[in-house]
């Protein structure tokens, strides 16, 4: 039995130590917002936050997450997350939507560390998040819009 802290709740799971966190989240805990795309940390669809740092759940052995805080798309909350999600709607970013949990999780992590990302910062933070629908231009616009909104909120 492993005890995981997922989105602020403790979960007891009976799984092999080397099982990737992704499949524990999806098939055991039932949190399906985190997506499977490649299984090899190549596409970013499975991004989650481990102690607030982005990580690829598809290659992360579940045993390594014991004692850490795991945040999935379902557990995102607070001003940054809500602003990012609203910016995603305002800029009409998602198409099929499958990669967007990963895009949003990585953007939240970016803005938590850098409140005014340049285009290059966005490239660095999000170039591991593949989108086959080609939403990148609106993703970029939404990241900038979210940053601007957060900064406005901070100064007013």
């Amino acid at each position: 039995m492993l005890t995981l802290n997922i989105n602020g709740n403790a979960h007891e799971v009976d799984v092999p130590n080397d099982m990737p966190l992704l499949w524990v989240l999806r098939d055991v805990v039932g949190l399906t917002g985190t997506k499977y795309g490649c299984g090899s940390a190549l596409c970013g669809a499975c991004s989650v936050l481990i102690d607030n740092q982005p990580a690829r759940a598809c290659v992360l052995p579940v045993s390594e997450t014991v004692g850490k805080s795991i945040t999935t798309i379902e557990g995102l909350h607070g001003a940054i997350a809500e602003t990012v999600q609203q910016a995603w709607i305002n800029e009409q970013v998602p198409q099929c939507g499958y990669c967007q949990s990963g895009q949003i999780v990585n953007t939240v992590a970016l803005l938590a560390q850098n409140n005014s990302p340049t285009d290059q910062d966005i490239d660095t933070a999000l170039s591991g998040n593949l989108c086959r629908c080609g939403t990148y231009q609106r993703v970029r616009a939404a990241v900038h819009a979210a940053a601007a909104k957060l900064n406005k909120g901070a100064t007013s």
Binding site: P20, V28, S40, P94, R132, G134, T135
Partner: protein, 712 residues
Amino acid sequence: MNRRQFLQMSLTVSGSLLIGVELAAKTPEETNLETPLEKKIFNPNAWIRIDPTNKITFLIDRSEMGQGVTTSLAMLIAEEMEVDLDQITTEFAPAGDQYRNALIGLQLTGGSTSVREAWEKLRRAGAVAKMVLIEAAAQTWDVPKEECRAHKGKVVHNENSFAYGELVARAAKLSPPDPDSISLKPASEFRLIGKSAPRLDLHDKVTGKALFGIDVKLPNLLIASVLRAPMIGGKLKDVDDSAVRQMAGVRHVIKTSDGVAVVADNFWLAQQGVKALKVEWEGGDARLSTESIVDALKEAAAREKAVVAKQVGNLKNVRAADKILEVEYVAPFQAHACMEPLNCTADVKKDRCEVWVGTQNQSGALQTAKEITGLTVDAIKIHTTYLGGGFGRRGERDFVRDALEISKAIDAPVKVIWTREQDMQHDFYRPISYQKLRAFINKDNELIGWQQRIASPSIMARAMPDRLKDGLDHSSVEGAADLPYDIQNISVEYALKNPGNVPVGFWRSVGHSQNAFVTESFIDEIAVATRQNPVEFRQQLLKNHPRHLGVLMLAAEKVDWEQTLEQGEGRGVAVHHCFGSYCAQIAEVAVDKNGNVRVKKVICAIDCGQTVNPNTIEAQMHSAIVYGLTATLHSSISIKNGTIQQSNFDTFPILKINEMPIIEVYIVQSEEAPGGVGEPALPPIAPAVANAVFAATGKRIRHLPIHHTDLA
């Protein structure tokens, strides 16, 4: 479209009003008025459901794979029904003949047909609902219906009003209006159509709540992974599963028609089981390679016998041409690589069957379920989820068959998930296309003849053999057989050849994706050879094609020609018509000393007739351009020793955000009937970029992706 339409209304068990406009050509049972009401209730043939609590539901009969149909189709109904988009709920329709796509003949989302097919149908459905509700209100108030009007989900008469939900019981008792009495709003009165509307599916898509096929949950659901033959055409010879059966969490190992399935408590365990299988395969052709396929196509193209797909004038007239330009082009196999790997969930019982799947092809899923279970249509339910990309791949039935076969064998609900590697190595690939072209130029420097011979595997030969006419697969020549340029003598010819029987299928924009690359690159070569400006040259040859010309000139007008390009930079243009729409693109590229190409900007002009939702039209332009850029710059499927060489995003790289060009989209205002938008922006991007690379480097790209050509 001038089809006879039947109106249908019924009151459901829950007291909801169900309204639909049905196409002709139904089975006698469906149109028989004696068919019991219950049957209509449980097999709803409609798009609109209004319940007494005023919940208005639109049943969306096309698949949402990112293109925005949930919203655009809802807009068509809402426009005529006089409701706002925020007053409605959408739901995916079940599988049923009443939801067939009249342009395709199946309940299928593809061919950029959704809005085109629904344009009249769903507006009429909305209009009928409105007319009946007005009638019901007028009767209740005992006033002439002409004095009543519908507005924001209410029927209004002077200061009285009824919400639609309050009229449900009375409306259901009325006869539907005479089809000839239905009149649709003129474009000048549109409230919604043609104005950007926010998508209805985004809240769920930014919170992780959207249900994709891979997310389906059921009580006691088992998860399966299927191992398939590594070689193209390979078959299972023998399997030793003794070790796998002992593994913790593995519940079943069974043979399917495509391989061996391991069924386990979760996907990780199922994959571990697959890895531990000891399998012997047979069949396949170890000599098959991309090179052997290209050689075979080259040979097929060289043979004299080919089917003529288009002929204008006669090339015999141009034998005395002053100059002949002769070149060959190759567009490779491509994988679909939807972000959501293929998957399907099925629960097969003796007397019923349910399928949950992100499919583009509900008719195909239903047919597959019928074949595998032996059940009748009434006992089968197809639940459509969101699709994490489709691009043609999810119109196939192999992943649906997996789930049905396994569930039937183990008598339990099961979800089959393909790994990314399986998804990429067992695709129905965009066919490779080898093409040989000749341009004939006279002494006055005029283009007087065009000959194009296309050799490629045929999609139709596999998927719909009855649509193969005299050896001609229209999907292999589309975009070439309808070359718009006014040239006195044209011959477009086709040689069908599928070396090694590589499985081929419909890939976003189908034949246009290869053929526009070739035609729009070659016309650029001719412009260069005759020392003419590529835009003006096209303009001369498109005088009789106003909509081609319209987008070409619109794109050209948006370019800042004054802005001088740096060393190693270039602009390229392409224009193409497909799926009822016209698209021109001008790409700006920079090629560095090492030959790396960066696409900096794409100007995209689209004429898709009357627009419905410009928001999603713009998004589809981005989407098709990015999908096409991946195939232009990076991806291809190659074959060696009879096996597919690519398996994941490291070997099949797709465009990343740091490579994203700035895309400017300009939409032509038009009152022509709507054209498609999911595909038309894809074909022009490869030639626009290739032509820009030529402008930048003087090197012509005749083989995709671009890195086949050394640009350093």
